[in-house]
Symmetry: C2
Subunit: 354 residues, 2 copies
C-alpha cells in the first residue's frame, strides 16, 4: 500500500459519512442508507463509488439539484411490478428502496420488477444486487448514466457507461455478483487512470474525430467505446431502454452529469428485478449446485486461480475489515475539507489536528 494513503476503520468511516450526510441535509434514514452504500463500496474495494463521492453530492445539494431528504414515491404498484419516482433524491436511497421493494414483492409473487424514474446517481449496483442475494434471490439491476459512450459505429456519446448486474446467493454469504459497465471501461476507471497517470489500452476511447486515444483525459473530453463492439452497444441500448425509456426517466442526454452539470437533477432511471429462488428450486438443492459450478470454474485451469465475479470483493472486504479501509490522499483531502466546513473531526490524523 502506497504511503500517501491512510486506513480508517469501517465503523468510524461509516459514522463520519452518516454525520456528514445529516449535516448537509439528509434525513436520518437517507443518511444511514447513503452512508451504508458508499462505505460498503469502499469496504469491497470500489473506492470510485465510495466516500470520495461525498463532496460532489454535498455540492449538488448546495446547488439545489439534489434533494437530500426526498422520499421516493410509489407511482403505481400492481402484483409483481412497481413504478417509483425518486423525487430528485439520493439515487442510493431510491435504488435501495427499489430493490427492497422488489425483494418484498418477489416474496409473494416469485418475481418482481421495480422501475425507477427521476432518480440520481446510485453508486455501485453491487450493493443492491448483494441485498437480493442476501434474501435468497437472484438479483438483476440496470441503471443509465450520463452519456460518455458511442453506439457501435457512432461518433457522439449517446449512452452512459450503463452498467448491468446480476447476483446469485451462496450459503457462506460470499455471493456471486456481476456489476459491469457495458462500455469498454467505466468512466471511473478512466478517472482512476487519469489520477494515476496510466495510459489507456487500445479499444477503450476515441476523440471527437473518432480517433483512438491512449492518453487519459478528464471525463467528458473523450468518448468511450462499447464493450466488444456491437454486443456492448446492444447491451448498453437495452440498459437505456430498461432503466429510462420504459420508466419515464431521462434518456441519453436527458441524464445530467453528476460532476459537470449543476443546473438540474440527474434524472437517472433504474430497473431492479428479484427472483425468489425457493419458487423454482429448494434452497438446499440449490446450494450444492452452485458450489459444484464454482468448483468446475476453479478446476478449469490447473496453473491459475480463477475467481468468480465478486470473489475479489469479498477478499478485499476481509482485508479492509481487519486492516481498515484505505483512503487515497485525494479522498482524505476532500473529506477533511468537508469536515472543516461541517465542523466535524475526521477519525485520522489531519494537519489541523496535528
Amino acid at each position: 500500500m502506497s504511503s500517501d494513503r491512510v486506513r480508517v476503520s469501517y465503523e468510524l468511516l461509516l459514522e463520519l459519512s452518516r454525520e456528514m450526510l445529516a449535516k448537509i441535509g439528509a434525513g436520518p434514514r437517507q443518511a444511514q442508507v447513503v452512508a451504508d452504500v458508499m462505505v460498503w463500496s469502499d469496504l469491497i474495494g470500489r473506492s470510485t463509488h465510495g466516500v470520495s463521492r461525498l463532496d460532489i453530492h454535498a455540492k449538488r445539494i448546495d446547488e439545489g439539484v439534489l434533494d437530500p431528504s426526498a422520499e421516493p414515491r410509489i407511482v403505481k404498484s400492481n402484483h409483481g411490478v412497481m413504478l417509483v419516482d425518486g423525487n430528485e433524491g439520493f439515487g442510493h436511497y431510491t435504488a435501495d428502496f427499489a430493490m427492497g421493494s422488489a425483494i418484498e414483492l418477489a416474496r409473494e409473487q416469485g418475481v418482481a420488477a421495480v422501475a425507477v424514474r427521476n432518480s440520481n446517481f446510485l453508486g455501485a449496483l453491487a450493493y443492491y444486487l448483494n441485498k437480493a442475494a442476501e434474501s435468497g434471490m437472484i438479483g438483476m439491476a440496470f441503471t443509465n448514466s450520463v452519456p460518455n459512450v458511442a453506439a457501435y459505429g457512432g461518433k457522439q456519446a449517446i449512452f452512459g457507461t450503463n452498467p448491468i448486474g446480476f447476483s446469485a446467493p451462496r450459503q457462506n454469504n460470499k455471493h456471486i455478483m456481476l456489476d459491469m459497465a457495458t462500455s469498454s471501461w467505466s468512466a471511473s476507471a478512466v478517472r482512476a487512470a487519469l489520477d494515476q497517470g496510466k495510459a489507456l489500452p487500445s479499444g477503450v476511447a476515441v476523440d471527437e474525430d473518432g480517433e483512438e486515444i491512449t492518453e487519459p483525459r478528464p471525463v467528458g473530453n473523450f468518448t468511450l467505446l462499447p464493450l466488444g463492439g456491437a454486443k456492448g452497444y446492444g447491451l448498453s441500448l437495452f440498459v437505456e431502454i430498461l432503466s429510462a425509456v420504459i420508466t419515464g426517466s431521462g434518456v441519453s442526454k436527458g441524464v445530467a452529469s453528476l460532476f459537470n452539470d449543476m443546473t438540474r437533477s440527474g434524472d437517472n432511471g433504474h430497473l431492479m428485478i428479484a427472483i425468489n429462488l425457493s419458487n423454482i428450486i429448494a434452497i438446499e438443492d440449490y446450494y450444492p449446485r452452485i458450489e459444484s459450478l464454482i468448483k468446475t470454474i476453479k478446476s478449469s485451469n490447473p496453473d491459475k486461480e480463477i475467481l468468480y465475479p465478486g470473489e475479489k470483493r469479498w477478499l478485499t472486504m476481509e482485508e479492509n475489515l481487519s486492516a481498515g479501509i484505505p483512503l487515497s490522499r485525494k479522498t482524505t483531502n476532500s473529506l477533511e475539507q468537508l469536515s472543516r466546513r461541517l465542523n466535524l473531526t475526521p477519525p485520522w490524523p489531519t494537519p489541523s489536528s496535528a
Copy 2:
C-alpha cells in the same frame, strides 16, 4: 448471391419443414412450432439456426435421444414464476411454450419468469424474444449450451456460448432484439468460417494449450474465449446459473452436444422473462420514447448508418419474403437427402427431379 445457392419461398420451405418433422415423429403441434422457429430463423438471415439443423434433429430422434412428440410438463407454477420440464422434447417447442407461458402470466402479474429444465437446443433466442415484443412486452431470454468456452483465465471449455437476449417492441413491429453469444464468437459463426475457409481474428479461440488459433477448426477441437474477457465470463456464468443451476438442468458438461453426443438428451436449460410494459408506462407514451432513442442513435454519426439490434434481421426478412430464402448448397443437399429418405419432394429443382 453466389450461384451455389437456391432461393425458396417462405411458405414452401415452411411446408416442407413441417412435413419432414411430422414424418420423423413430431406431433402436429410440435411440427408446426419447430418448423416455424427454424424457417423464421432462415427468414431473418440466421441460417445457422434454420432448416440446416433439420438433419441433425432427425438423427437425434433416430438415436432415441430426442423425443419428437414430448409435451412440456409444468412442474410448479405460483404467481409470476413457473418451472417447466421439457421431457427431452424439442428445445424449440419447449422454449416457445415457456415464453408463451411467461407472456400469459405477465399479463396478469406484470412480470413473469419461466424456468425450463430437461430441454434441448432451442435455436435462436430471437424467435422467443420477438414473441414477447409482439405482445407489447419486454422479453429476456437465457439458455445454456454445450461447453465450448473457457472462463476468463481458464483453459478448459466449461461454458456454452450461452446466449443472452432482450427485446423491446416498436409500433411498426420491427422490434428491437438483441440475441448475442456471451463468447467472443458463437459456435455457429466458427462453423460458418470453417465452411467458408475464413480465418479467425485474434481473441476468438485458443487450442488445448491455451494458445490462440486463427485457422478455424471443427467445433469441439478448440476453446472459445469469453466476450471481452472478464465481462463476457461473468455474463456467461450468469446465463449458466439462470438457465441451468436454478432450473435443475444440466450444468456445464451436463449439457450434451447437439452434433457430437448421440448417447443422451441435451438437458439444456432456459429462462424466459416477460415484463408487461403497460403495467409501467402507457403504451402510447412508450412508443414515441423508443422512437426518439432510435433517432438519437441514427443521428450519432453523420457519416454512417447505425442500425439498432435486430434491424438487419428485418431488412433481411423483407428481402427474403420477396426473393425467397437463400439456402446454401450444403443445406439443400442435406434436405434433399432427408427428403429422399422420407419420400418427400423438395420445392426446388433437384438432381432426382431433373
